[in-house]
Symmetry: D3
Subunit: 248 residues, 6 copies
């Protein structure tokens, strides 16, 4: 770990402000030897609030994975709570790829017996539910909550969304019997530390969690398995706008 390494943090939406926020959170927890490269796609959606948005964002994630790989980064973080394009990204990448929902959920199960999730719009709850099922954590999640504000309300400077997240966490602690809370949006990353202190329970941001997970895997010499399911994509012609995704 004494060698310099780069962890690429990909904000799958096109919001520069959110990319900067996420980058700052990542840097705050990164190990001394880790450089954070915070990026977002040049094209796509300004926020991700459904499956349609995720499908578009997944392409942006893949473009950035390819770019990161060409830069020789050590690993990648997908910094949107739906972990869009995660398995596709793992196929394309050489290093480890970690989603922030994945990282936060995994860590939550290690500090509490059950956790709650607080996210943005109600329609994104189904995405979190499906991830819980896919990752194996249905029994570990006590309840899911939505503050009913769009993602970008977290960037509007009024603090309203932040206050709603705080209230949501307080309610979740009180009512769900959960020992920890998972913040359900990359844009909430800055709130984790202070809410952890205020509430007296682990309030977990996936951005930081994912950065540490990538660092850990790299330190252990572990990377995405290239045997079988997650092997590099089968070589084939990618036509039109997708041609640039092709591996050399």
């Amino acid at each position: 770990m004494s060698v310099k390494q780069i962890v690429q943090v990909i904000n799958p939406n096109t919001s520069q402000a959110m990319t900067a926020t996420i980058g700052a959170v990542a840097r705050a927890v990164a190990a001394p030897g880790t450089e954070i490269l915070a990026v977002c796609p040049s094209q796509g959606v300004p926020s991700i609030e459904g499956h349609f948005d995720e499908a578009i964002a997944a392409i942006g994630v893949l473009e950035q994975i390819k770019a990161g790989r060409e830069l020789g980064v050590s690993g990648h973080v997908i910094a949107c709570f739906g972990d869009p394009g995660l398995l596709a990204a793992r196929e394309l990448a050489q290093g480890p790829v970690i989603g922030i929902a994945e990282a936060a959920m995994h860590m939550a199960t290690m500090v509490a017996t059950r956790f709650s999730i607080v996210t943005t719009l109600p329609r994104t709850l189904i995405i979190a539910r499906h991830l819980l099922q896919q990752y194996g954590f249905e029994q570990h999640c006590a309840a899911l909550h939505a503050i009913d504000l769009p993602v970008l309300a977290l960037e509007d400077g009024t603090g309203l969304a932040q206050e709603k997240v705080r209230e949501g966490c307080i309610q979740a602690k009180k009512r769900d019997g959960s020992g920890a809370i998972v913040l359900g949006c990359g844009g909430m990353a800055t709130l984790a530390r202070e809410l952890t202190l205020e509430l007296g329970i682990p309030v977990i941001d996936g951005v930081g969690a994912a950065v540490k997970m990538v660092e850990s895997l790299v330190a252990l010499g572990l990377s995405t398995s290239k045997h079988g399911d997650l092997d590099y994509p089968v070589r084939k012609t990618l036509s039109g706008q997708f041609a640039s995704l092709k591996l050399d």
Copy 2:
């Protein structure tokens, strides 16, 4: 059902030959009042054999869903066994959207207590496994098999892949104790009828199954729910190559 209706069958890969094959299979089972519109994306991947390919194909599916919607089609079929972009397509569509894996698996559970799946490359098995979990059919699937040939081998005219599918089905019937077999690739659609007759058990092709499912939903006045999770995408700026996906 006496009114003319159009069912759009979207081949998510860019193979014209496979699109034609799939269209023909769809037409063969369509009701008298149903017109089949078989399409494929103008850009993308020539075959879909992993999550990376699926992520690209999902964009092509969305473009076609939008086009189909503007044409006023009654419903849509996603004719690739991984059902790429299914939930995103449901957000975008007004009518019902059915994936061929989904349709075939659902129907298999209604004619047999357990079924087997025969697909192409081993690396696509994980996609089928995840769909079984997502759709609720883990307990209904006895086994999954791969013939270990790429998708496009089904279009190479030698009949080798077809023979391997046939052998796979015969083995699956013998060894798995399954009452039905689900064909795990849109390119196998033409084989279902003859294998059903030869093997004496239901061998199910999802393309035909999905067309009938769309027709059924339309006849019942049922369409994709626009309340909550699958509501139209939140209106926002789609930048760059994705601008054309925006709903008017």
Copy 3:
């Protein structure tokens, strides 16, 4: 599908009025080439509100399946929400057999991410729960509700039960976060279309759904698998009142 085909719709209880209602709903959605044969057992229970009633009804279902088979019908619908005798009927039948709970639940998963159920007596909820588990849809059902009126209240002409169903659906939409509602009784079949329109979400009746499912399977050349678990019953002496169930 241009050939005339008969779909037998079996009301497992002995209510002639409900049989007529169910038959009418079936006819309203049937394809042009489909003739609906609505029948009920000559002996049994006037309504089905528990496992005891179901056990009796299952014999009536089998008698009708045998009669239908001798008439050469193309397929069978079991028009009671508990799907009584479904697997036994599949053993006896040559064509496909579809239960209305099964059909409605399957279709609900294709138009919404999660659905609610509205049924009659609370004691029948456990039957629906077990079906959800058997069919694989536990994760797809957000909540179950009972209007706490017996099945035959739907036939008393006052409209009270219908109004309670309507209220139940409205509450379910509001509170459960479900995108669709499944009507949990064959006697509610007439309400689906109007409630779908009023509530603006798919409200699904299993009678219509099952008819379309049978038509679909027939069109696809798929029938109940006779390999293994659902093969015709082992030939043996059926004594006493059951002698008439014997296949020739």
Copy 4:
């Protein structure tokens, strides 16, 4: 327990020989104060090898439950491995009702971490699979095996079926890593003790297990709950051959 009590053991098929065998096994394990009343329906199927047979047998079970209840028996055993009519019988009965598959499976989980099942015809395996799911023991069952002989081969006096059961148990012990074996047919009840001794692992017969379970519940003052789901059947007219099932 010093008072005399009757446990009714219902063989759901009409085989007098098997009824006698089952009665003898039940008596061999019954407590001093327990009288075993072994009965079978006067009408029905001579053996139960599928869902169709089970549907018929369930009516016989209900008739016997009613008769037993009128005699004032303390509890009931359903002595067929599919536990046909179990929940219907619980509705009708006042005392506890235990199925032999249920009893054997429950006991197996208390003496071993995982168990195997050895049954008769392969087509009955699906019934056992569904019971494992319904009772919650999918993870506790390592494997299911069928000797591929019909139920009545156990009564043919040649000992062939018994030898096949023995071989099946020996193989199951060797291959499955199971600590116990559940015998999957009431007709195998006589084999449990000797196989337990020969194999050195618990080989469990459900008939004996169910008798002890009924005795236990009675001694504890516990009976089938009449609150909610398993309350007595709703009073209604039972027509035709079913009239005799009506509670007074």
Copy 5:
């Protein structure tokens, strides 16, 4: 069963009062030929209210299992609702070992379709949840409740805790739709009979249930499997305070 047999009932905490209470309840349900030997560890925790307490109690359970085995008891009951040390005890024991949570939960599933649990401190709910998962009864438990009083409040002579348990059971019956209630603490054992009568539904105490289960297994000639997972512990040096646990 005419031979005298000893069932050892181990209270895993060191409370003599609770040991006496549990012993009395066990004796009240024991068969004529059964002698109850109620014991508790000489060292350990006075009550068990968490995983830490359970870890300590497990050693006490093992010491008593060893002592009981040397006395030649027929079987063992672990009389704490978390079933502490159950699988370790099964390795050490020759006879059957039954936990009271296990016994109560199993029996509850045989008299009702779903049950509720009423226990002491909220922090012990997670232990019950994990047992439900381990035993396979997640789908059979409708809800868990805690009276929010420590275990020893059941021994303080005021009756306050007992009244809270009673209220908890009444609420659970009313709200959960459960047909039976499982008492979630050995110290509640005396309440089961009267609450069963007062509430009119089975209220199940695991102490009595476990005694009957041990008697049943013994009568059937079934004991803990010594093949594989639960074989006697591998012989090795046990150092320090644990030396006394060594089998001779």
Copy 6:
């Protein structure tokens, strides 16, 4: 992370040799600012090969957790693949506590879609199975294998056990279709790196994985939740040999 921190690595068995090995592996992956404190209980079992051994080891783990806490360590690793005493240790600890099975399984799901486990004695497989269920990874584990040698064979200097592990991993890669392998014993920790290189897939040792997980949680300011289930043990008298476990 620039401050010096101590991660306590607890070998739950009393083998000094294995403690040294585990400590060395932990040091090899620790961050520059991390000091590894490798310890083992002064009393207990020399190796852990079943539930009985685990129960004893859990007490040793708790003693060490208490000692580590008094030393002010930042977090704790339980370095035995059964994660003995994990939840009890979390109650007692202030900092995070990670088991090596837990850490390895979590990481395996992030680098592969499915993994295999290779462990020592067959009787320990059930412990791994239960952990998979508890952690949520049943669907992520393709197969479990045992080399059928005791734990201490890994310390006998012959290399035989190591060769068997290697062969087990090679077979697992070939047959299971897994993308990664989890080594199922702390004593195998030294093999991970070389097998990862030789096999070309991630072969994961939990000791290293757990150390990185503790470091990650500490860096993120996350610790075991003290709200609810994992709060410090309720204060009570611990008698006899357990008195020393009491928190001040």
